[in-house]
């Protein structure tokens, strides 16, 4: 523990998932924490690494995700409120179902005034959030620095743990 009395509150996060739904929490929390004057580091590892790619192509899968509401993002209010239960046997076998679910989720987010992941990621960089790409996962998945946005750092477990050792909040997402 450092003896810095004025050290800001620290948030350390690991982002390990690269789907449209799970891509949100790390960026929402990181940007908000930075806006609350916290010092933030997000370590992107395994599937979370794709969240740092220049061009995001995140998808959401209803399959194996039975809690996901399937609602129409447009049309009369009554219709929008209906939840259409889609059995896994359909969501997993109908071609294009995942694309449709992804498109529905994006439309709904936009309609409800939710920022895009790209926007939140930009806010994180603007607010000085430290975004660290896991070098080991990059090697395993065959990613290069060219695949990722500018302004990020590269490191491994020790890099994250050194920061997290003095963190007030640590989250694995």
């Amino acid at each position: 523990m450092s003896d810095d009395t004025k050290r800001p509150t620290r948030l350390a996060m690991i982002a390990s998932k690269g789907t449209l739904d799970w891509g949100y929490p790390p960026f929402i929390l990181a940007s908000t924490a930075a806006a609350l004057d916290m010092e933030v580091c997000v370590f992107f590892t395994f599937y979370g690494l794709v969240l740092l790619k220049k061009k995001l192509k995140l998808k959401v899968s209803p399959q194996g995700n039975p809690a996901m509401p399937m609602k129409m993002p447009f049309g009369p209010k009554g219709l929008q409120n209906i939840n259409w239960p889609i059995p896994n046997v359909i969501s997993g076998n109908v071609p294009g179902f995942e694309l449709m679910a992804t498109s529905l989720m994006k439309k709904t987010f936009k309609k409800k005034g939710v920022a895009t992941i790209e926007n939140l990621r930009d806010s994180c960089l603007e607010l000085g959030v430290k975004l660290v790409a896991c070098q080991m996962t990059m090697d395993v998945f065959g990613f290069t620095k060219d695949d990722f946005i500018d302004g990020i750092e590269y490191g491994g477990a020790a890099t994250f743990l050194e920061f997290a050792a003095d963190a007030n909040i640590s989250l694995f997402i």
Binding site: I28, T32, A35, L36, K112, G113, A115, L120
Partner: protein, 75 residues
Amino acid sequence: MDKPQELDCRGMNCPLPVLKTKKALTTMKTGELLRVTATDPGSVADMAAFSRRTGYALVESGQADGAFFYVFRVK
């Protein structure tokens, strides 16, 4: 008292009102006021938390014209 600077966050959802508010406050001078309007019901708790964490005083808040409003003073 000078007229507060206005920030319209109506129609935006979490965490955008907080992010926009912070961004606006950092461009302003000490003592100046910022009046934020938002429709996100979550902003009621979030703006208060933002104020407590950052020290930007929430000098007034409430509801008007179908929206929530928050007046911050720049520290």
